[in-house]
């Protein structure tokens, strides 16, 4: 099946792109895709604990099963608002 991946902020800069489409094995979860990304970009592992994920613009955990045409967003630690 095919999904769209969205990258933001530090992840977008590390991967040098803001989105892409990918073919993934049926039955894949968020974790499956994240493991693939970490294999391709080992430097992502430094943010292992800090990373969150959203499917269809809702936060999901890593066991969330993916479906064809899903949009999966890789969400580094958010830092909206001000410093204060």
């Amino acid at each position: 099946m095919r999904i769209t991946l969205r990258y933001f902020a530090s992840v977008r800069e590390k991967l040098k792109r803001s989105e892409e489409e990918r073919e993934i094995p049926s039955g894949a979860t968020v974790r499956t895709v994240w493991d693939i990304l970490k294999r391709e970009h080992p430097e992502l592992s430094a943010m292992e604990k800090a990373m969150s994920f959203a499917v269809a613009q809702e936060y999901v955990d890593r066991d969330h099963p993916l479906q064809d045409n899903d949009e999966l967003a890789v969400i580094p630690p958010v830092s909206g608002g001000c410093y204060a």
Partner: protein, 157 residues
């Protein structure tokens, strides 16, 4: 009053016009309005800051802001709430975020406004890059802090 007349959440590329937020939140039954404005500070963690640059996950950022506003209305006796976040370059002294909450009672207005900015910083998918003298840095990403989703789970636990 229907919820869409009580909540206004927006993300903007322009400077934040605070008056628009307080005009929205004003209500003849409200005796109190608390606001919060977050601005770019000239130093952070010992670094001299030049400016900040914000980006968001379009669509999801607005949705998460609306969820926070709806939770505020559910938890406190509040008349109206307006929340706005700016994207792009935000210079020293300029506002990146503003919240206005009106209420019949001041304590509810303060608590709700404080809650709203805390939640916004925790869960809304917006990121800031700090340009400082000597480099640049995505705030939040440099440390192995807990992710937004884990924080959402902890909030709800």
């Amino acid at each position: 009053m229907p919820e869409e007349q009580r909540i206004w959440c927006a993300i903007t590329n322009s400077p934040i016009a605070m008056q628009e937020l307080t005009d929205f939140a004003a209500d003849p039954a409200a005796g109190a309005m608390a606001t919060f404005v977050g601005m770019t500070r000239n130093t952070n963690d010992g670094r001299r800051v030049i400016r900040l640059e914000y980006e968001c996950y379009p669509g999801m950022a607005e949705k998460e802001m609306r969820k926070i506003a709806a939770e505020v209305l559910a938890r406190w006796s509040i008349r109206k709430i307006a929340m706005m976040h700016r994207l792009g370059q935000v210079d020293i002294g300029e506002a990146s975020v503003a919240i206005a909450v009106s209420s019949g009672h001041r304590h509810a207005a303060f608590e709700a406004c404080h809650f709203a900015i805390n939640q916004l910083k925790e869960i809304v998918p917006i990121w800031k890059k700090e340009l400082y003298e000597g480099g640049e840095l995505w705030i939040g990403s440099q440390t192995g802090t807990t992710g937004s989703w884990q924080r959402v789970q902890e909030e709800n636990a």
